[in-house]
C-alpha cells in the first residue's frame, strides 16, 4: 500500500514538474555564497545569485560588457568632469514595497565609502567627495578628481543600491533589492530559490521561478547534468567533461570569456625575482599553449599582459614572451644563475592552478629552475602568499574586470613597484577622453609586459553547459553574474 502511494506521489510530482518546466529553471553552481550581500564580501558566488537578478546599481554591465543604464535612467557630466548628475527612474520599488529614492543612493554610496566600510572593493568609491540628493529622483555625485572609470565602477555588484533603513545584517540572508527576481528562500548547503518580481519597473523576467543548486564536486555536477536534475551550469567545473556534453544532443556547450587573467605571479621583491633578467627568463620558459591544452583541455586564450583579449583596448603582446627555453637559459646565465635555482610554487585550490602548476613545474625544470610545489587552501593562500609575501611563485586568476590598477600598488602581493606605472595609472584615472584612455591602457599593457612583472598565462574561459532549449544565458562573463532576467525555454 505504501509503495503504491509513494509511486503515485512521485508520478504526480514528475507530471507537475514537466508542466512547470517552461517557467522554472534549475541552475547549478559550484560554490555556495557565504551570504547574499554583495557590498560586504568578495565571493563571486554572491554576485552569481544577486547581480542583475535581485540587486541593481546606478549603472550595470550588459552581456557584452558595456556599461548601460541601471537604476539611473540617464546622467549628465559637468564640463570639468567632477560632477555627475544621475536621473533616477521613477516608480522603482524594493521587493518589500518601499520606494527607491535618491536618499537610498546617497545612503548606499556613503556607506560603501565610509571609514568603517567592509566593502571588498572600497577602491571603487575612493574618488567620491560628496553625494547629495537634489530631489527624489536626482542624485549629484561630486568627485575629488576626474575619473574616466566612474560609471564603470558604479556598475559593479559591490556598488548596488540598498534600501536605506534596512538592517544590513538581515540582508545577508534575506536580500531586498529592486531587481526582476525576488528572493524566496535559501536551504543552506543545498539551494537558493528566486521568484519573478511581478512589480518590476522594467521588462519583467520570463521565468517564474529559479532554483540555484550548489554542487561542489565536479563528478557530482556531471551526474546531475546527465540525470537532468540541473538545466544549466553556467560555469561548469570540469572542462574535461565538455566534449562529452558537446556530443550529447540534449545539451549545448557555451564557451565564452571571463575577466579572469590567469597569471604565474612572481614575488618581485624577493631574490632572484627582483632581477628583471630572471623574470624575463621565466616568461620565455613557459609554453602557454601546453598549459591551456594540458590543464584546461584547450579552453582559454593566451595573454601577454594583465589585460582581457575581448576588451577593445587589448593589444596582443604574447610575442614579447614567446616560448623559447634556449633564450630563458641564456637569460638565467646572464643574470648569474647558469645552473638555475630553487624556489617555491604555491598553488591555491582551483583546477587551473593545481593542474597548471604541474606543467609549469616541469617547464621550469627544463630550464634549470627547481620548484617546491605546495598545495594550499584559499585561507592559507591568503595568509601565506597574499598577506605574508611568503612565496616565490604562485598561480592565480584575477577575476575582477579591468583590475590592472592593482599593479600600481607596491604593497600588492607580487609587489611590483614602478613609479612610471603608478604615474600612468594616475593619468588614466584622470583621463575622460575615450580614445586617450585606450592609448593609456595600451601603454599600461606594454609596460606590464616589458617589465615581466608576472608570467601572463591565459584568459580563463567561461565553460558553460545548458539544456539545448534554454535561451538567453550570458556567453561571456564581463562580471561575475548569472543574469537570468532574459532567460527562457524555447519549447
Amino acid at each position: 500500500m505504501k509503495r503504491i502511494f509513494l509511486g503515485a506521489s512521485v508520478l504526480a510530482l514528475t507530471a507537475s514538474m514537466a508542466m512547470a518546466q517552461s517557467t522554472h529553471i534549475n541552475i547549478g553552481d559550484q560554490l555556495e555564497p557565504p551570504h547574499l550581500d554583495p557590498t560586504a564580501g568578495a565571493a563571486g558566488a554572491i554576485d552569481n545569485v544577486v547581480y542583475a537578478n535581485i540587486y541593481e546599481g546606478l549603472t550595470r554591465f550588459s552581456a557584452d560588457g558595456d556599461v548601460i543604464a541601471g537604476l539611473a535612467e540617464s546622467w549628465d557630466i559637468s564640463e570639468d568632469g567632477l560632477t555627475y548628475t544621475f536621473n533616477l527612474r521613477s516608480g522603482v520599488k524594493y521587493h518589500d514595497g518601499s520606494d527607491m529614492t535618491a536618499s537610498d543612493v546617497v545612503y548606499s554610496l556613503n556607506r560603501a565609502r565610509a571609514e568603517d566600510s567592509t566593502n571588498a572593493q572600497k577602491g571603487l568609491f575612493a574618488g567620491i567627495a560628496d553625494v547629495t540628493a537634489a530631489d527624489d529622483t536626482t542624485v549629484v555625485v561630486t568627485l575629488t578628481s576626474e575619473n574616466g572609470g566612474f560609471l564603470f565602477n558604479m556598475a559593479w555588484g559591490d556598488a548596488i543600491i540598498l534600501n536605506e533603513g534596512d538592517d544590513v545584517e538581515a540582508l545577508k540572508s534575506q536580500p531586498n533589492g529592486t531587481g526582476a527576481f525576488t528572493f524566496t528562500n535559501w536551504v543552506q548547503g543545498d539551494s537558493i530559490n528566486l521568484a519573478r518580481n511581478e512589480n518590476y519597473w522594467g521588462t519583467p523576467a520570463i521565468l517564474e521561478t529559479v532554483t540555484i543548486k550548489y554542487i561542489s564536486d565536479p563528478t557530482a555536477a556531471f551526474a546531475a547534468m546527465m540525470a537532468g536534475d540541473i538545466d544549466a551550469f553556467p560555469t561548469f567545473p570540469a572542462p574535461e567533461n565538455l566534449p562529452q556534453f558537446d556530443a550529447d544532443p540534449r545539451f549545448t556547450v557555451i564557451i565564452g570569456s571571463t575577466e579572469g587573467e590567469t597569471i604565474l605571479a612572481t614575488n618581485n621583491k624577493m631574490p632572484p625575482f627582483d632581477n628583471p633578467l630572471v623574470r624575463k627568463a621565466l616568461s620565455h620558459a613557459i609554453d602557454r599553449s601546453a598549459i591551456i591544452d594540458g590543464a584546461m583541455f584547450g579552453y582559454g586564450t593566451p595573454i601577454g599582459s594583465h589585460f582581457a583579449p575581448h576588451n577593445p583596448a587589448y593589444i596582443d603582446l604574447t610575442g614579447e614572451s614567446n616560448y623559447d627555453p634556449e633564450l630563458a637559459r641564456a637569460l638565467l646565465a646572464e643574470a648569474g644563475y647558469p645552473d638555475g635555482f630553487t624556489t617555491t610554487l604555491k598553488l591555491p585550490p582551483p583546477t587551473y592552478a593545481r593542474r597548471g602548476g604541474e606543467i609549469i613545474a616541469a617547464q621550469l625544470r627544463a630550464v634549470g629552475i627547481e620548484t617546491e610545489v605546495t598545495n594550499l587552501e584559499w585561507g592559507s593562500w591568503l595568509e601565506e602568499v597574499f598577506r605574508g609575501y611568503d612565496f616565490g611563485l604562485t598561480i592565480v586568476s584575477h577575476t575582477e574586470p579591468m583590475d590592472f590598477g592593482v599593479y600600481a600598488d607596491p604593497e600588492y602581493y607580487f609587489q611590483y613597484d614602478s613609479a612610471e606605472y603608478q604615474a600612468l595609472m594616475e593619468e588614466l584615472t584622470a583621463e575622460t577622453d575615450p580614445d586617450r584612455r585606450i592609448a593609456l591602457m595600451q601603454d599600461a599593457q606594454r609596460m606590464m609586459a616589458a617589465d615581466d612583472v608576472n608570467v601572463y598565462l591565459f584568459q580563463l574561459a567561461k565553460t558553460g553547459v545548458a539544456n539545448k532549449n534554454i535561451v538567453g544565458l550570458w556567453e561571456n562573463s564581463p562580471t561575475q553574474a548569472t543574469d537570468l532576467t532574459a532567460v527562457y525555454w524555447s519549447e
Binding site: 567592509t118 540572508s173 536551504v187 548547503g189 561542489s216 563528478t219 587552501e377 598577506r387
Partner: protein
C-alpha cells in the same frame, strides 16, 4: 545502577570539557583568516580590519574560548563568521539531513545484516553461508564512494529512478526519504556486511554454550533455539558494533554527502574549514564528540538491559 549512571555522567562531562579545549586549540592553529577570505584579493587592508573587528576576531583567544564554551552550555554556539547567522541554527538545519540519513542507513544495515547473519550461522558451511561470507567480504572491500558513483551512474543517469543527489527538504516526507534512499543504501552496505559477519560469529560462539544444548534437549528445534536463546546472547557484540556504526555514520558520511551533494553536517564542516569559519568547525566537531559520547553511554546502558547479569553486577 544509579551510582553507575552517575559515575558515567561525571566522566562524560569531564570528557566534554577536555574535548572542547583540545578542539579549540587545535583548530585555532590553522593558518588563515575568515575576514580576509570573505573580502578577497582586491580588498583594502582597512576593510579587512573593519570586518575583523565587526565579527569579533580581534578579541583574545581566551575570551573567544570562554564565550564559546559557556555559550554552548546555554545551547548558544555563537554566530558564524562567514554566514552571520547563529551556528546553532545552521547545525540544526544540517542535523535534519545527517541524523535521518544516519538512522536510515543504520536501519537498512540492520535490516540486511540480521537475517543474513542468522541464516549464515544456522546453516553453517552450507552454500547460503558461503554466499553470505563471500558477499559480505565484497561489501566490506568495496570503497563506498566508488559504489556511490556506480549507483548514480546506473540508477540516476541510466534509469533515472532517483535524482543524482541533492535534498528537497522535508516539506514532502516521501520526496525527502527518496532523496536519502540511495545515499543511505550506499552507506548501509559496508556496515551491513560488517554487522552480518559479527552477527554470524557471535551466534556461532553461543551455539557451543551449555544452555544451547539444554534448549535443544528440552525439545527446541535448531532454529527455535537459535532465535530464542542464542540471538539474545549474541546481542552484546552486535550492539557494540551498532553503536560504533551510528557514530561513524553521523560523522563519517562526508564523502557520501559530497557525492550526493546533500546539505548535511559533513559538507557544512568541509565548507566551514575552507572559509575559515572556525567557530562553525569547532561547534560541529564538538557536537560530534558529544554524539559519540552519548551513543557510547546509551550502548552501555542497553548492555545492562539486554544482559541481566550485567545489571546485577553494577
Amino acid at each position: 545502577m544509579l551510582r553507575y549512571i552517575l559515575k558515567r555522567l561525571i566522566s562524560l562531562g569531564l570528557s566534554l570539557i577536555a574535548a572542547s579545549v583540545l578542539i579549540f586549540v587545535a583548530i585555532e592553529i590553522i593558518p588563515g583568516d575568515a575576514a580576509a577570505y570573505m573580502l578577497g584579493i582586491n580588498a583594502s587592508p582597512e576593510a579587512v580590519a573593519a570586518l575583523r573587528e565587526q565579527i569579533g576576531l580581534n578579541q583574545s583567544d581566551f575570551t573567544r574560548y570562554f564565550d564559546w564554551a559557556t555559550g554552548m552550555l546555554r545551547g548558544d554556539f555563537g554566530i558564524s563568521y562567514t554566514y552571520r547567522v547563529p551556528v546553532a541554527d545552521m547545525i540544526s538545519n544540517r542535523l535534519w539531513v545527517s541524523l535521518p540519513l544516519a538512522m536510515y542507513a543504520l536501519f537498512l544495515s540492520t535490516l540486511i545484516a540480521f537475517p543474513i547473519g542468522i541464516i549464515a550461522a544456522s546453516k553453517r558451511g552450507s552454500v547460503a553461508d558461503w554466499m553470505v561470507m563471500g558477499g559480505t567480504q565484497l561489501g566490506v572491500a568495496i570503497p563506498n564512494f566508488w559504489f556511490a558513483m556506480l549507483m548514480v551512474q546506473l540508477l540516476a543517469i541510466k534509469y533515472q529512478f532517483f535524482t543524482a543527489g541533492g535534498f528537497p527538504g522535508w516539506d514532502n516526507f516521501w520526496l525527502g526519504m527518496k532523496a536519502l534512499t540511495l545515499p543511505a543504501f550506499v552507506l548501509a552496505l559496508p556496515q551491513a556486511s560488517i554487522l552480518a559477519r559479527v552477527m554470524r560469529s557471535a551466534l556461532l560462539d553461543t551455539l557451543t554454550e551449555d544452555f544451547m544444548r539444554t534448549a535443544r534437549a528440552k525439545g527446541r528445534t535448531r532454529r527455535g533455539a537459535l532465535v530464542h536463546h542464542a540471538l539474545r546472547n549474541a546481542m552484546i557484540p552486535v550492539l557494540t558494533i551498532i553503536g560504533l556504526q551510528f557514530s561513524f555514520l553521523l560523522a563519517g558520511a562526508i564523502i557520501i554527502e559530497k557525492i550526493f551533494f546533500l546539505p548535511g553536517l559533513g559538507s557544512l564542516i568541509l565548507t566551514a574549514i575552507s572559509q575559515r569559519d572556525l567557530i562553525v568547525v569547532e561547534s560541529v566537531v564538538m557536537l560530534l564528540v558529544f554524539a559519540v559520547i552519548v551513543v557510547t553511554f546509551v550502548v552501555d546502558i542497553t548492555y545492562a538491559l539486554v544482559d541481566p547479569r550485567l545489571r546485577r553486577r553494577v
